[in-house]
């Protein structure tokens, strides 16, 4: 089954960039621009991994991750941000910005276990 990846980022260019990299890896993508959109999405319960940008308008990335832990405790989360890794919440993988294609691949491999 093709892994489905939720990507949450308010910067359109970056959202498009991550989406492109993830699609290249052969995964399906659900791309949203805010935490509220993510939580309102019907696909939320069917994705296999979430890539979350920390600096989001409205509800921030930290809060979204807390909500996800409650709503889908077994969902692995990858944090991506321009912020330093010191400020990241405890998650399964990190993707500091700026990232490269290899970085995206490595993060997803870590979370999903082996690149497809």
């Amino acid at each position: 089954m093709t892994p489905r990846v939720l990507i949450v980022d308010d910067e359109p260019d970056e959202l498009a960039l991550i989406t492109r990299h993830v699609r290249r890896l052969g995964h399906d993508v659900v791309a949203v621009k805010s935490a509220e959109e993510a939580l309102a999405s019907p696909e939320l319960d069917s994705v296999d991994v979430a890539i979350v940008d920390l600096r989001l308008p409205g509800m921030g990335g930290w809060e979204l991750i807390d909500v996800l832990r409650v709503r889908r405790p077994e969902l692995p989360v990858v944090v991506t941000s321009v912020l330093d890794a010191d400020d990241y919440p405890h998650v399964e993988a990190w993707l500091p910005k700026p990232f490269s294609g290899d970085g995206v691949q490595a993060a997803l491999a870590r979370v999903l276990g082996g690149a497809p």
């Binding site: 910067e11 970056e14 960039l17 492109r20 321009v82 330093d84 910005k97 700026p98 490269s100 294609g101």
Partner: protein
């Protein structure tokens, strides 16, 4: 005798009634002398008056008159002669005249049977009361003379055995009386002298006591004035809170500045509150845990005081930020300097705390750092897209011409340069805000150095600078990422400031067996050098050496301040040596394990 009787006269004047005082005035300047003659004169007058009584025998009126005249004469002499100027002994004249007068009176009133003979005891007492013993003999002789006078003065009487015995006996009595009187008056005099001497001593002591009291009062006034001056000085510091306490932390001095800062009146605090009552309790407890490695429950307020004053007690007065809680519960950040008060012998008598409200400064500083942080992150964001899409372009499926590839490389290089700069700025702001931390782990410093050299090789090659490295296994406890940043900065600086054809050498050495005493990294170059007076400023944020600006070498001046922050966080030191025109060497010394 003069003093003895003068005192009595003084008493007469001061203690007696107005009557006596008027009498004293009339006695003249030597009233004492006159006074002494008065009993005799008085009794003599009575004697004379008694002669007027019919039936009393008057043998010779002539002798009586002579006696009276002599009595008056001696009284006048007593009143008007300057006895004060003469030696005391001369006053004996008067009783001697009295004796003669008595002799004549005796002779004029029947001689041996005359009762008026007894008046002789007045001059006897007068003579015996004198200081000199000769008064006794004069008295004795005088009395003998008086008794014998009828024989001497008239021819009626003859010297019989009876007369001789009478004379001798009366003289003996007179002598004994005189001696007794002399003795009594001598003792009286001695006692009076002693009393006088005591009184004088007493007067001296009283004067001294008064003088001492006056000087004590003066000193007390001075001390009060000095204390008032000091209090006014301390109170004039209205912008700083000055609090002094005793050894247990109980407040003794609470100045106007403290009242303003904390909202307590002086009276509410002095002797009632402890220094620690103004603090955030949790903060104090946390500090106690850090200082004494003890987080057992606190059962005594002194424990909290200890946490506050421990550095001061150890002789290292500390200035640090604390949270104060005012009377109304509002919180503020204060910069606190705690020092110890001690006696001359070194025992601690208390503490002095000077606190300034730095809440707004800290807030401003915090906001500034937050701003820099925010801006840095915002600056990174576009670069994410730039570099990300550049990668897509270069790794893309569509073929690129060599020229296009070259242009893309340039774009990427510059984007990365900007990224590095933003990273340095952010790191610098974090260092400033004290939010800089390292994650120490077991690592090999040689790996870090090799990585830095490898990363810098392309830049060095492009600049025509030779990179050389000497590194053997160097185990260490440290943060490899941060140390990597530090070495990167030094190496890139060295390359930047070395003209083409020069060399940059990087060396790592381990100290002690298995690196137990730390390690050293040296980055030396054959570059343009740094003037000696600028060496100390080199690690200041945004500082650029004059040699760099003159040669228009690019850079903002952050790299070295970051390197220094990393080295400091590891508990190490950074030293720089340089000769203008010849080269520079940077040496990082690191301990085996970072502190903390």
């Amino acid at each position: 005798m003069t003093e003895l009787w003068s005192n009595e006269r003084a008493d007469l004047v001061t203690m007696g009634s107005r009557y006596m005082r008027r009498l004293a005035r009339h006695l003249g300047p030597d009233g004492g002398v006159v006074e002494r003659q008065l009993p005799f004169v008085g009794v003599f007058l009575v004697a004379l008056l008694s002669l007027l009584i019919p039936g009393v025998l008057v043998a010779s009126q002539r002798d009586v008159v002579i006696a009276a005249l002599l009595t008056v004469a001696q009284l006048v002499l007593a009143r008007f002669l300057p006895w004060a100027r003469w030696p005391e002994g001369r006053q004996d004249i008067l009783p001697i005249i009295q004796l003669v007068a008595v002799a004549f009176l005796r002779a004029g009133t029947g001689g041996p049977g005359s009762p008026y003979t007894t008046i002789v005891f007045f001059p006897v007492i007068a003579l015996a009361s004198q200081r000199d013993r000769r008064g006794i003999w004069l008295a004795g002789l005088g009395v003998a003379g008086v008794v014998l006078s009828p024989v001497l003065l008239t021819s009626t009487f003859r010297l019989t055995v009876d007369t001789v015995v009478r004379t001798l006996f009366v003289s003996l009595v007179a002598l004994v009386v005189a001696a007794t009187v002399h003795e009594i008056t001598a003792r009286l005099r001695a006692r009076s002298n002693a009393l006088l001497s005591l009184q004088m001593d007493q007067a001296v002591l009283l004067d001294r006591a008064r003088a001492d009291a006056a000087s004590l009062a003066r000193v007390a006034d001075q001390r009060r004035a000095a204390r008032d001056a000091l209090v006014s000085v301390i109170d004039s510091a209205t912008e700083q809170a000055i609090i002094a306490t005793d050894a247990t932390g109980l407040v003794e001095v609470f100045n106007a500045g403290a009242e303003r800062l904390l909202g307590y009146g002086q009276g509410e605090v002095v002797g009632r509150l402890r220094l620690t009552d103004f603090h955030d309790r949790e903060e104090l407890e946390a500090r106690r845990t850090v200082l004494f490695a003890d987080d057992s429950p606190i059962d005594h307020p002194q424990t909290l005081v200890d946490a506050l004053v421990a550095p001061a007690l150890a002789g290292r007065p500390e200035v640090r930020d604390w949270t104060y809680v005012a009377r109304d519960g509002s919180r503020m950040t204060v910069r606190l300097a705690v020092t110890r008060r001690s006696e001359a012998d070194g025992t601690t008598t208390g503490y002095v705390v000077v606190a300034s409200d730095v809440t707004s400064e800290r807030e401003a500083s915090r906001l500034q750092d937050e701003f820099v942080s925010l801006v840095s992150h915002e600056l990174r964001t576009p670069l994410t897209s730039v570099l990300g899409y550049l990668e897509l372009l270069t790794d893309g499926t569509d073929p690129l011409t060599d020229e296009q590839r070259e242009y893309l490389t340039v774009i990427e290089r510059n984007a990365r340069r900007q990224l590095r700069l933003v990273g340095d700025l952010l790191l610098s702001a974090q260092v400033d805000a004290g939010r800089f931390s390292i994650s120490p782990q077991r690592m090999d410093l040689a790996d870090v150095v090799h990585a830095a050299v490898d990363a810098a090789k392309p830049v060095a090659d492009a600049a025509g600078v030779t990179l050389a490295v000497t590194a053997r296994e160097t185990p260490l406890n440290g943060d490899p990422v941060r140390l990597g940043q530090a070495v990167d900065n030094l190496v890139s600086n060295a390359i930047k400031f070395t003209p083409s054809g020069g060399t940059v050498w990087v060396g790592v050495t381990s100290r002690g067996p298995q690196g137990s005493e730390g390690a050293e990294v040296v980055v030396s170059d054959t570059g343009i050098g740094i003037p000696p007076d600028e060496l100390s400023h080199l690690t200041t944020r945004f500082f650029r050496a004059s040699t760099a600006t003159r040669r228009a070498i690019p850079g903002v001046g952050l790299g070295l301040s970051i390197t220094k922050a990393v080295v400091d966080a590891h508990g190490g030191s950074l030293s720089i040596t340089s000769t203008v025109g010849e080269g520079t060497a940077f040496t990082i010394s690191l301990p085996a394990t970072p502190p903390g």
